[in-house]
Amino acid sequence: MDKNELIEMYHQMVLIRKFEERAGELYKMGKIGGFLHLYIGQEAVAVGFISSLKPDDYVISAYREHGQALTKGIEPRRVMAELYGKRTGVSHGKGGSMHMFDVEKHFMGGDGIVGSGMPLATGMGFAINYRETDQVCLCFFGDGAVNEGAFHESLNLASLWNLPVLYVCENNLYGMGTAVDRASSIPELFRRAQCYDLEVESIDGMDLLAVKEAAERGIRLVRRDKRPRFIEAVTYRYRGHSIADPGTYRTKEEIQEWEKRDPISKFANYLLKENLATQGDVDSIDAEITEIIDDAVSYAEESHEPTFDELFENVYA
């Protein structure tokens, strides 16, 4: 893989990490309202997959989607302004943390209902085939979605109709506070998808290079064969389900164990060991991203709130 591409992926993971850390701080300061579901720990999944897409491929995600929104190319300023509920936000302050949309960038949300993005992704796959283009749709959802009817209806239809959709299950081991093995009769989630006659695999979502390899291959095959595919990326969120999470369902030791497998430090070590970057490069990326986040926060702070008349806009086209 090209060195610049590797550095760029590191850059994107650090951007997500620092963006989310800052968002968590700002939430506690009362700058951000509503729910805030942080992506910290899962960065390798968004970056590995989205960096393997072409710009005109589509992405749809669920409500822990800041990382995917940033990786699909939405400016951090506009994501932060959306968290602030400002009119300069990517969804003009109408969406919030769970509903980031940027149609120009082909980032199609931001869905707040578990599993419900999957039928939408299926419909986008249908539209791609209808228009006879060679795009693909990448659909992210969590382990909780596997137990929703939408999951099964979508996979069945996508397989039946040969739709170019890559379904990516980010299994972070907990649906809110309920462990996967307390919710799924089969805890190996890729097996839940297996009966729809599509290719399934399970990968280590904490290892960027493993994700990248599976993503490149998966996306290439979906595009080539016009067939859906299912990848389970086993990962972990270090923070609570949302900011208001008592954490009663898992131990500190468990979190610490997963933090030892941190995708960002692991990848930084790889870059250093392979002489792809120096400690100086890594430090300067960190500093550069801190500046980007500072800029995003100032932009959000300084932006205007939506005006009253905007309350009534865009209910109808």
Partner: protein, 366 residues
């Protein structure tokens, strides 16, 4: 001008629109090979092929979801819910997605989606297959809801729904499919948001829609023989609602009733009356009343089903009440008669039980 059935008018609208715009496609349960549960999509597979007319599995959430997703990318899906009762399985897609994707995205997305759904009672289909859900959909900002009463309106409104850039819930009535009416040969549309005066009158306004339009017209005809001239307004479009036309009519007649086949609580009548008392209270000469479906799940038995649904007699009686003529408590009278019948039946049953008990006793003695 051709005379055709309601379902044929719908079929023609679909055909003409699909010929006009290649971005329109149709999906639903048994709409293609089977030709549609109510034959609305008859022949479309043959004319437009498998790419544009697709049978789906019985997966309502995914059917509407595919419609939403395809609409997000600019196609114009027409999805059929085999009946409105099954749309409940797709409510998340309709309420959380069709109606909200535009707003949540700050206006970046359009959902030009038409969801057709037959509804209504009258065929002894029982509690789960006889419902009307217009008020559920009307409640939701971001959706439009239309409900045509005639073949003319069915064709014109379906064309408008398909051309609309918003999600439109298109409600059809199962008992209307084979009713006939005139449909012009030339191209026309019926605008969404405009009610229609189906009969002019000076004494009272009957506000209604869908199948109850024909029933109300029959009642108006009967009332004319008593010297009462009722104006019958067919709402046609439930969201947006043509309040202006209702107010204009009320300024003339000063009296009104609402006739609907759905349940009374939070129903269409409740909405119409709220709007009229806000906009035209000074013109009222009498309270506006409602004739609705009885507030019960639909029973199977023919006589019970029939007595739960509004009919000509109930409508005419309600009109007589609001115009100050002699009127009756129809339900009260029916309940009284029913109580007598039931007492007799229960007495008979008791007697039969006694005879059985005596026989049983005698048999044991022997």
């Amino acid at each position: 001008m051709a005379v055709m059935m309601y379902r044929q008018a719908l079929n023609l609208a679909l055909r003409e629109e699909m010929r006009r715009d290649p971005d329109i496609f149709i999906i639903g349960e048994d709409i293609a090979q089977y030709q549609g549960a109510y034959r609305v999509t008859e022949g479309l597979l043959q004319e437009f092929g498998e790419k544009r007319v697709l049978d789906t599995p019985i997966s309502e959430e995914a059917i509407v979801g595919v419609g939403n997703g395809a609409a997000m990318l600019g196609l114009r899906p027409v999805v059929e819910m085999m009946t409105v009762n099954f749309s409940l399985l797709a409510m998340d897609q309709i309420v959380n997605h069709s109606s909200k994707l535009r707003y949540m995205s700050g206006g970046q997305i359009k959902i030009p989606l038409t969801i057709r759904a037959p509804q209504g009672a009258g065929m002894q289909l029982g509690a789960q297959h006889s419902q009307n859900f217009e008020s559920w959909f009307m409640h939701i900002p971001g959706l439009k809801v239309v409900a045509p009463a005639t073949p003319y309106d069915a064709k014109g409104l379906l064309k408008s729904a398909i051309r609309d850039d918003n999600p439109v819930i298109f409600l059809e009535h199962e008992m209307l499919y084979t009713t006939k009416g005139e449909v012009p040969d030339e191209e026309y549309t019926v605008p969404i948001g405009k009610a229609d005066i189906k009969r002019e009158g000076r004494d009272v306004t009957i506000i209604t829609y869908l199948r109850m339009t024909a029933v109300s017209l029959a009642a108006a005809h009967a009332l004319a023989t008593e010297g009462i001239e009722a104006e019958v307004i067919d709402l046609r479009s439930l969201r947006p609602m043509d309040t202006e036309m209702l107010v204009e009519s009320l300024k003339k007649t000063h009296r009104a009733i609402v006739v609907e086949e759905d349940w009374p609580m939070c129903g269409v009548g409740a909405e119409v009356i709220a709007r009229l008392q806000e906009a035209a209270f000074d013109y009222f000469d009498a309270p506006i009343t409602r004739v609705t479906l009885e507030d019960v799940p639909m029973p199977y038995s023919k006589n019970l089903e029939r007595s739960a649904i509004p009919n000509e007699e109930k409508i005419a009686n309600a009109v007589r009440c609001v115009v100050g003529r002699e009127c009756r408590d129809i339900r009260g009278k029916m309940l009284e008669e029913a109580r007598q019948t039931r007492e007799e039946l229960e007495e008979e049953e008791e007697e039969e039980q006694e005879v059985t008990n005596v026989r049983h006793h005698n048999a044991q003695d022997e």
